[in-house]
């Protein structure tokens, strides 16, 4: 029993190191142990950081917006995610949707690569998607106090373009170029070239059933 206790003590010490280094992996000791701990964190999910509403709450309302484009690059319809308010009887369902939206809001590359892919798959008629993200601003405490602003009129005031993607994987490069040139009357040649490169880089987003 004594040996078992000694072994368990070593395991406990290791576990204590794991749960205290996990939330602070960028520290010196975190980096020092990372060859051992990083794989463990990935396998076990023990590497969580604990920063609820911290360092800054930054809980500004966000949403993902998009426009579904047809072959001519014209908007067929648009949409946003998550839905406004709490449309579900159980709020938990909306909580996760907000978490999902926030995840893509703060990771443009994944927004472009993963979210757009889902939009393409769930909109079979889409030839392209134009992605945006927008956020509302937190009303100023003192302006609300003076009655100049209200919490209930949240508007998604700040809107940023995330990028454009083509849904059709077989879309030819020259078609894409032609479309860009047609739509770029006011764009300089350099911008046009960079747009073209960006769009070509994003072309492989395809519907699962596109082939």
């Amino acid at each position: 029993m004594r040996q078992k206790r000694a072994v368990l003590s070593v395991v406990l010490l290791f576990m204590l190191a794991l749960i205290t280094i996990g939330p602070n992996q960028n520290s010196y000791h975190g980096q020092l142990f990372s060859p051992v701990f990083s794989p463990l964190f990935a396998v076990t999910e023990f590497g969580s950081t604990w920063s609820f509403f911290a360092p800054d709450p930054s809980t500004l309302p966000v949403r993902l917006e998009w426009e579904i484009l047809d072959e001519r690059g014209e908007v067929v319809r648009d949409g946003y995610f998550p839905a406004t308010g709490f449309p579900y009887f159980f709020n938990e369902r909306q909580t996760r949707r907000i978490a999902l939206a926030r995840f893509f809001y703060f990771a443009d590359d994944k927004h472009l690569n993963v979210w757009s892919n889902w939009l393409c798959r769930s909109n079979p008629d889409a030839k392209g998607i134009r992605l945006w993200k927008s956020n509302a601003l937190t009303p100023d405490l003192y302006r609300v106090q003076r009655g100049e602003q209200s919490l209930s009129d949240i508007r998604f005031e700040e809107r940023q373009s995330v990028g454009n993607v083509f849904c059709d994987p077989v879309m030819k490069l020259d078609q894409a170029a032609e479309r860009l040139i047609n739509n770029a009357n006011q764009t300089s040649a350099a911008e046009l070239e960079s747009n073209l490169q960006l769009s070509v880089a994003q072309t492989p987003h395809g519907r699962r059933d596109a082939s």
Partner: protein, 314 residues
Amino acid sequence: MRDRWQGARPQFKFLKSVGMDFLRAWEKFFFEADAREQLRLFRPLFASVLFVAYVLRAMDSEFYYGLNGVMDLEKLAENFPAEYRWSFLIWFPSAVALWIHTGVFLISLITLGLGKFPRLSAAVAYLLHVSFMHRNMAVVYGFDTISVFFLFYLIFIKIDEEAARKKSSDWSSILTSAGFRMCQIQVCVIYAFSGWEKLKGVIWWRGEALWTIFNSQFARFRWDQVSHLPLLITVLTYGTLLWEIYFPVCIWSKKMRPYVLLGGVLMHLGIGFIVIIPFFSALMITSYAVFLTPAEARAVLRRFPRYFSSNTQG
């Protein structure tokens, strides 16, 4: 040389006695805790909270984890570092596998709550929980990450009344005691890091953080009236900071423990009411069961239906 050795001996003796005291304290703390009553309260409550939350998540399983859901498998591999991350749902991505996965996970939570094959149930629940997380990290939030740890510690916990009656310190009791202590320490770690992280935030220093949370996307209500109580916002903001930072210390003081726990219950009830993360609040309040004394846990258990107090052994 000899004089120096003789002079050092009492120091070695002192160090040896300190070391032995530490080892005794370590063993007593980790291996001899009587946690049956607390765990009889904690485990079914914890499993119930998880069960309800994950039944609700199951309503959106296809969207989050399905083949036609938001996270395409190909894109998952491309965009999320997959080294060492594993998931049954990546190996078996079909809709049938997803529902089997969900069903077994929920059943394991039920058996865990009922104390049937508790260690096996906790192990199954833990593995499937991590499997869900790895399939789609984008929908993971605090509730899921905290659950990981408690499910893991419950793998070592078995409430063995027979062993307790015989006062035997068998391997099973030692593991249970160690698991119980790790649950306690985990709660302290969560609050400590959460508090320290907040100290980095300008809005927390300004005392306006609660105002931002009142206006967050997660806020259940829009309360303009709160703006007329800036002092309350400041007090609550600093109160949260102080409470989180000092929780890991004060919770071990017999005198302060009840107040710390009461503060925590009020804070989490407040969060659950204001922000739409009620399961997170429920989970944290449930975790306080491991900080009760056996007598307090027994008193709480008596208020529950008889089922809880009699059938949650194992």
